[in-house]
Symmetry: C2
Subunit: 218 residues, 2 copies
């Protein structure tokens, strides 16, 4: 599918703006595991995802991670161009969780369009609003949801994203998503196993009772 | 001081936009303790603070609070008009922590200006970016900073805002800012008192060793 069909406000742009975008976008293929954006070190441009999956997380000084949001097909990754937003003053890392194909828009092109076009500026606003909502939701989770519920919800979502109840994921990886230590994840998964909700083997968490897992997440 | 001097991008607007704003803004006086915005129930408009102090917080189902940001002179309160941003989908409450004077801009006026003006849309973007940074900072605090450090930092900031080392604040109120239970605050304050960093009396926390408090917050 063409860029025009992926960029939601394309039809509202002027002919000049359309030309400018069309002439500057390129198709990017990103291998699973690639670091797309690393803190404030780089500022390449925006990625409009065609297929695949990106993960944005923050890092503690000790190297602990917590996922702050994930992006899928038709989502726009703004933070790989966070230098264009002068008030965004935190370091975020974005990696490809799956092989990803995306439309790439260079930051200088997008920035100059945004400065002059109310349509693009408002579209950018909408995206930041969505990410803001993700982040406030995360605070609510961390503050007021016990860890067993957060873990149950994570496994449920992961199963829905992957389309399988057999998840190929390590305890370490789950800990990085949820911002905790591996030992905490292992202990809780063993409790889930005792409750016959999951079955564990090396590098695999298999959900054996989705109904009960759903109940546990609420 | 006039609205023109408070609204940072006023000089970049067209004469029509300037007129439209000038003719629709009004001065609002808000008493300390007033709820300015309550979840998604209302959507009056934006507040550009002249003097005073607003506090934005989220609530758990059980009624626990956590402060997500505070606003001071020259800050713009967008969230009292969050209905104009369709992707902001969380309930935030905003109250006046002090008697506050602000320029009030009705939501329909601002919304129509923002839709047509790249200048106003980008200004709005900048504000959301600042609040986004506040919220990610809060996640870092909650996830990776132990409670003693968070409490020390809060007392230090509160002292700087109030311009005094004698803080008139209850343990309950501190708990609401930090998203914890009153008992947790009381226990930690008593520990601080034992360390001779604060002295406690009814409704008062007095900082007696600012240097040590600063060190504890790092």
């Amino acid at each position: 599918m063409s860029f025009e069909e992926y960029f939601p406000v394309f039809n509202k742009l002027t002919p000049e703006e359309k030309d400018c975008l069309i002439n500057s976008v390129s198709l990017k293929r990103i291998k699973k595991g690639t670091i797309v954006h690393n803190g404030n070190d780089d500022c390449l441009g925006l990625l409009l995802i065609i297929s695949g999956q990106l993960r944005a997380y923050i890092l503690s000084e000790e190297g602990r991670e917590i996922t702050i949001f994930r992006l899928f097909s038709r989502d726009m990754c703004l933070f790989s161009a966070s230098c264009m937003m002068k008030n965004i003053q935190f370091d975020i890392t974005v990696t490809a969780e799956k092989d990803t194909e995306a439309w790439f828009i260079p930051v200088d092109i997008y920035k100059s369009l945004m400065e002059n076009s109310a349509v693009i500026a408002n579209y950018t606003n909408d995206i930041i609003g969505t990410r803001f909502t993700d982040v406030v939701w995360l605070i609510e989770q961390i503050m007021w949801k016990s860890f067993d519920k957060r873990l149950a919800l994570f496994l449920k979502e992961e199963s829905s994203i992957e389309g399988t109840e057999r998840l190929e994921i390590t305890h370490e990886k789950i800990a990085s998503h949820l911002g905790t230590a591996r030992e905490v994840v292992t202990r809780m998964l063993k409790y889930f196993q005792g409750e016959k909700v999951v079955s564990l083997s090396r590098g695999i968490v298999e959900i054996t009772d989705m109904k009960k897992l759903s109940e546990m997440s609420e």
